[in-house]
């Protein structure tokens, strides 16, 4: 029973944190809320018998990927001015339409999901099992994922390098 209570608490935290993340004016604040949300989801993962996934969620998602965001936000140096603008942008007129759309979609999803029966697994899927299937039937997927990361790497390298170089050149010319 405790698990179920935990689950609901975690779910509530995740939802609230996400909502907060979506509505903050300050990017760093939003990011922290997002991390909270991710951590809450990790708890859920743990609760439904996916400890490995929970770990990865924390380590990679809340850790690595979010840090990327932090870096970029820091680089861009968004200040108070940015916050003000963000608040202006978040007027009801802007989000009314999208909100309606989202609610409709949500309702549809709820209707669809509503009939799903059955609990989640009784026994946890261990990290070993996951590892076995990753390097068993899914071995090609891992290889392709490597290629995917390579593409991401090369792409961001190309774009980011240009940014830095330009920055450098501009600075150089100004000196």
């Amino acid at each position: 029973m405790l698990e179920i209570v935990f689950f609901y608490i975690a779910a509530t935290v995740a939802l609230i944190a996400t909502v907060m993340a979506m509505t903050r004016a300050n990017a760093i604040h939003a990011l922290i809320y997002l991390i909270v949300s991710l951590l809450a989801v990790a708890v859920i993962f743990f609760l439904i018998g996916a400890p490995f996934a929970a770990a990865l969620e924390i380590v990679i998602y809340a850790g690595a990927i979010m840090v990327l965001f932090v870096f970029v936000i820091m680089m861009l140096n968004l200040g108070e001015k940015g916050d003000k603008q963000e608040r202006q942008w978040l007027k009801p007129g802007i989000w009314a339409g999208p909100a309606i759309l989202s609610v409709i979609l949500l309702v549809e999803l709820l209707i669809v999901i509503g009939d799903v029966n059955g609990p989640v697994s009784v026994s946890a899927v261990s990290a070993k099992e996951v590892g076995l299937s990753l390097f068993g039937p899914y071995v090609l997927a891992v290889e392709i994922a490597a290629m995917l990361l390579l593409a991401g790497l090369v792409g961001s390298f190309h774009l980011g390098r240009r940014y830095l170089e330009r920055d450098h050149i501009e600075k150089g010319s100004s000196q």
């Binding site: 996400t18 909502v19 939003a30 439904i48 965001f69 989640v120 697994s121 920055d167």
Partner: protein, 104 residues
């Protein structure tokens, strides 16, 4: 761990709520950084659904997919943030509503 009987549809419910919130964020935010965050939320929602479904069927596949989603998210965000830098550089703003030079 006995008594672990969280209904699947409740987890899916949470994930769909996350998905919808992410989508809402996607639609209302003008700042590209927030847009990317919203995307992460959506991907995360999908990942949650996968893991839950995997748990439901007692298969490791759900978690495998979760890991691949992580990869995908990482790659996307990497390129996405690279683009953000460029956007800031060239447009001098992160407001995506300003990026509408092409239309019609």
């Amino acid at each position: 761990m006995d008594g672990l009987n969280i209904p699947l549809n409740h987890i899916l419910l949470v994930s769909s709520l996350l998905f919808a919130i992410g989508m809402l964020g996607l639609m209302i935010r003008r700042n590209i950084i927030f847009i990317l965050m919203s995307l992460e939320v959506m991907l995360n929602a999908a990942a949650l659904a996968f893991v839950a479904a995997g748990a439901h069927w007692e298969q490791p596949d759900g978690q495998v997919v979760f890991m691949l989603i992580l990869t995908v998210a990482a790659a996307e965000v990497a390129v996405g943030l690279g683009l953000v830098l460029q956007v800031q550089k060239r447009f001098k703003t992160l407001d995506m509503d300003h990026a509408n030079r092409m239309q019609g």
